[in-house]
């Protein structure tokens, strides 16, 4: 045990709530890594992110400024944390913060902090409003999508889209609208929270599948695990899912990784229509919250991600257990007020 190297990794998205961030699942994967030991530094935005209080998983947590404060504020804070903690690596897990971390990656590298993130080009190409161009360039079926900046544009898109259509936020949130009034209401709701643009997407009928995986940035698939979500909450989040063996989905994932040379973790949201054709609905440029199912099925994606970042050349996974399930549950922790006070007044716990 002692001959294993200890790596100090900072992880974000500790909000293991009903619409969970991936941080806690990523950390569980890291804690179970066979090739190294870890010390985990949590990075939180809010004082009630549950991960902050999970001391068996997270050694210490620091609050960091919101992405909307700009990269210079974020960098200052990370530098302070690094001075105290001497981080080896950061794994950011929120869509909304990825861009900032991608921008900072070279600066962080100079401090000796590794990341393993997609390139800005990869990140932008797969943005929801670029999906049609992405599909055309790499040869994937994708739904028609368009970015709009103005609620009035909902009237003019009628010629391209039939109802129902999907109204999506730039980072998060989506709703299915069956008429223009519903579309308007989603536009207002989502743009108030996540800003503009709003993405209007063709609604594809069928069965939804998901794949999580890891690309090495050279076009090779390090990991790929397809699942079907079995239970979806009213927030659209999986509460149960099962790993499946679908050759076509694995081929599609390989094709995605090799054609884009995808670097880092990702999640593909897929829809299989009645004719059996797969559509890519969304490409999330980070590890999903249900990644622990992949770990449980034999592919420890967080561990492999760290190895990629640290130059430890992970071997591509060749197999995983089919029919493994995850069933999520909620768990009430008992926390002393002092701890909450500590993180909310000093930003550290």
């Amino acid at each position: 045990m002692t001959d294993k190297k200890t790596i100090k990794i900072a992880v974000t998205a500790l909000n293991a709530i009903d619409s969970p961030g991936p941080g806690v699942s990523v950390i569980r994967g890291l804690r179970e890594a066979e090739s190294f030991d870890v010390q985990i530094i949590g990075l939180s935005y809010e004082s009630l992110e549950p991960g902050i209080y999970m001391h068996d998983l997270v050694d210490k947590t620091y609050q960091i400024p919101y992405p909307s404060s700009g990269t210079s504020a974020l960098f200052e804070r990370l530098r302070y944390i690094h001075e105290k903690e001497k981080l080896d690596m950061i794994i950011p897990n929120f869509d909304a913060e990825l861009f900032s971390f991608m921008k900072l990656a070279p600066e962080l590298d100079k401090l000796g902090i590794k990341t393993f993130l997609p390139t800005v080009k990869q990140y932008e190409e797969r943005e929801k409003f670029n999906l049609p161009a992405f599909g055309e360039k790499y040869g994937f079926n994708v739904p028609e999508s368009k970015a709009i900046h103005n609620i009035a544009d909902l009237y003019s898109i009628g010629s391209t889209f039939d109802y129902p259509l999907v109204v999506k936020g730039k980072f998060y949130d989506a709703g299915i609208a069956y008429n223009i009034d519903q579309a308007k209401s989603y536009f207002n709701k989502i743009s108030a929270k996540w800003g503009l643009p709003i993405i209007i997407q063709e609604f594809v009928h069928g069965t939804e599948f998901n794949v999580t995986g890891l690309g090495d940035g050279e076009g090779n698939t390090i990991s790929a695990v397809p699942i079907r979500k079995q239970y979806i909450t009213d927030k659209g989040k999986a509460w149960g899912g099962i790993s499946i063996s679908d050759k076509e989905m694995l081929d599609l994932t390989d094709q995605f990784i090799s054609s884009t040379k995808w670097r880092g973790g990702f999640e593909l949201e897929l829809m299989k229509n009645k004719e059996g054709k797969f559509f890519i609905l969304e490409i999330n440029p980070r590890i999903p919250a249900w990644v622990y199912l992949a770990v449980g099925a034999g592919q420890n994606i967080p561990e492999a991600l760290v190895k990629l970042a640290m130059g430890m050349n992970p071997k591509p996974f060749s197999d995983y257990a089919v029919g493994k399930m995850f069933i999520r549950y909620s768990w009430d922790m008992i926390v002393d007020l002092e701890e909450f006070q500590q993180i909310s007044t000093y930003g550290e716990l």
């Binding site: 909450f340 006070q341 909310s344 007044t345």
Partner: protein, 86 residues
Amino acid sequence: MKIKKNVAISDSGFIFNPDTGESFSANPIGMEMLEMLRDGMDYEEIRKNILDKYKSEKDTVEKDYNDFITMLKQYNLIENDGQKDD
């Protein structure tokens, strides 16, 4: 004007109201005012203490004090005994 007795005020600027479960934070001058209110000082005394210690003016302190009290009331941190002593 009295701060509710069971409201917990810690040196770090963290305030907890056990009646409602709400927590708050205050800046250093806010903390000082809270402490003075808790010690039962009236407005005149509080103003004098603030003006002795800080560069400011009577009007400014009065306006800010009143605004601060409004917020304390809004947050239910003030004893609701109907008395009005400012």
